[in-house]
Amino acid sequence: MKERRSLCVVKVGGSLLRDGRSYIESAENIKKTFVDADRLPIVVVSAAKGVTDLLIEVAKGSKKHLEAVTEKYLSIASEFSSPKLSRRVHEELEHLKRVANTISGSFDAALQDLIVSFGERISKILMVEALEHVNVRAVELNARELIITNNIHGDASIDYVATANNLEKIVKPILETSATPVIEGFIGATEDGAVTTLGRGGSDYTATAIASLLGIDDVYLVTEVDGIMTADPALIPSAKIIKVLSYREAMEAALHGAKRINPKAFEPLEKFYGSTVFIGSWRTFGTKIQRELPADLAGPKLVMHKTSGDIPYIAIIGEGVGNTKFLKMIIDIFYEKAFSILGIQSYYYRPSILVYVQKTEELKILRELHKSLFEGAKP
């Protein structure tokens, strides 16, 4: 029997799940990082890499993509050399095929959700097997029974009250068996049992909702990168990992298109229990996202650019960047480097400044701001 406070939530992103070997690697890391440290992780899994995209094509009627999904999952399953697992995965794929065969000409959002859900459903079965393979007792949870949503297919929102009720009922048995539960991210079901999906990045949303509704302190979102960076490293190689962000900063960044942050994921955290979210890789969880920031951590956290319509803008994100002193500093940088400002937008209550700039100067400005704000260069 485990203590309730030993619970944490761990989401394993699809980019980490490529083949049988990578499922086992993830399982080993779950064991090393959590189970061996006497914690009981609730594991949230995405579909294996690329599978969701394939399934979206299947939902449009593509037989070729159905074959690709089948081949992919059967080949991952075969790596475990467990006849039981292969049969189970085969059964799920047969079911998927039956569903795919009902596709007629017209687009049916409910059917698409049902088809896409198989990506996570099978991934979950594989993850349970991988955990058992590394001697971690693991059991399946069923997102379609636990995560209740509204009926907006393709972009459903979680019904927090119904879902909290369901989750609360299984906590005790989970703690009693001390087996690591694995649940599908990204999918849920309506009260009537129709399968829904939670939209892009929905697995993060599943993870934070579970943590928040059960009052669990820590959520780990595991991906390939070590954390959220001060800028897009493809554009600015000197970008660094951001150690701490507030929910507000993270959501603001997501609003302006930051990768790896799903704004919906913060809704339960803001409304209910404010769990701490750790983003990173198995090497290190470089970024911590928490409800409140201590005063000394206020200030700019990241710079990014976004093109909306004809005029691109640069967003500088961080608690307190809307104050007059900071605004002046930014304008000074523009002034000294002779960049033109086409527009500027800032409100005292928002953790961002948006500066509309000329297309030709966009990247130059981004680099200059990053240098001044995060690399210690004097403006």
């Binding site: 569903v99 007792r137 399946e140 009693e176 068996t177 087996a179």
Partner: protein
């Protein structure tokens, strides 16, 4: 704490759900009633898993994750082939739970299993209708002569205690029972009305989401609803034979029929009727005015209207969802334990 040994035969959707529900809820039941529900053996068509001291929660959850017909692979407890004698010798069950599929020609394997259980002093809970439909009196007489119980509330409106309620209305003369007793066909009709698709398309969708079986014959030819009428007739003490139930096939309903009905403010429903006054029973495609109470029961819901010489009742609830049905089976098990096993 009183240990109650339970054997489960049949491990399809309901069997899995039952095992899972027991694993999640039996601690709660133990705390509340002082009973420890011990699942000691589970069988499917190919094999059986036996653990004399009872499977623990983790084992039950792992069992429900097995692929179809592969209990024999459940190491180290799984065995090839099902020998019910061996199961009983090793586990001495108090209660037998029969969840095998219905076969209305022979009643097997449920019929033999149930008789075997009774003859070996086990109470019986069944969700399989066929043995009751074909051999109701024999089974009940066998149970009565041994002071054993046979419970089967999961067989009609499986997600509700409808049969319990009906059997408790002992002072009433029940004149008419009429309603929507089959979830699959009601779902298909609802699909046809709401999305204006033809029968085949609606059936395919029902199969895709798991509401209909791969072989839907029992549902769409009305066998399932007829069997339920037959069980209801036994419960109210006015038995009819399943063969005497007039059945229409739902596959006759075309999209044009649906459109015609809708145009006239009507809804097509697949209605089962037991009229004890006129001694007729049927499962028919009928047109109902939109505001008829049965017309408003959609999707996988079931509904029954019971008319007695004293009153009229209306009952709505989920038909055969696996989780709901598993709870009905569990409730039957618990009521037997509380009334019979502990009382002894």
């Amino acid at each position: 704490m009183r240990n109650v040994n339970v054997v489960v035969m049949g491990f399809g959707n309901v069997g899995r759900a039952f095992v899972k529900v027991v694993s999640l809820k039996r601690k709660m039941i133990a705390e509340k009633y002082g009973i420890n529900i011990n699942i000691v053996a589970v069988g499917d068509s190919k094999g059986v898993a036996i653990k004399k001291e009872g499977f623990d929660e983790y084992e039950l959850l792992k069992m429900s994750e097995l692929p179809r017909s592969s209990l024999h692979m459940f190491a180290p407890y799984g065995r090839q082939e099902v020998d019910i004698k061996e199961v009983y010798r090793e586990t001495e069950p108090h209660i037998h739970v029969e969840l095998t599929p219905a076969n209305y020609l022979t009643g097997e394997p449920g019929y033999s299993n149930i008789l075997f259980a009774l003859r070996n002093n086990a109470h019986v809970v069944t969700a399989n209708k066929a043995p009751l439909v074909l051999h109701y009196s024999e089974i009940m007489n066998e149970a009565r002569s041994r002071g054993l119980s046979v419970r089967f509330r999961a067989t009609v409106m499986g997600g509700t205690p409808f049969l319990e309620m009906l059997s408790s209305m002992k002072s009433h003369d029940i004149e008419r029972v009429e309603g929507i007793l089959n979830a699959t066909t009601n779902y298909i009709l609802t699909e046809m009305h709401e999305n204006l698709v033809d029968f085949e398309q609606a059936l395919k969708k029902a199969q895709a989401i798991g509401v209909a079986e791969a072989d839907p014959t029992l549902d769409i030819e009305g066998f399932d609803a007829a069997a339920k009428l037959c069980i209801i007739s036994h419960v109210i003490g006015k038995p009819i034979n399943m063969n005497s139930v007039y059945r229409e096939s739902l596959s006759k309903v075309t999209l044009k029929d649906v459109l015609d009905a809708v145009r006239q403010g009507q809804v097509i429903k697949y209605v089962a009727l037991l009229d004890t006054q006129n001694k007729v029973a049927s499962v028919k495609i009928v047109r109902l005015p939109k505001d008829n109470i049965l017309a408003q029961v959609g999707g996988v819901l079931n509904a029954v209207r019971v008319k007695t010489d004293a009153t009229e009742l209306f009952f709505v609830g989920k038909g055969g969802g696996r989780i709901e049905t598993a709870h009905s089976v569990f409730d039957d098990v618990l009521s037997i334990v509380l009334e019979k096993v502990i009382g002894k």
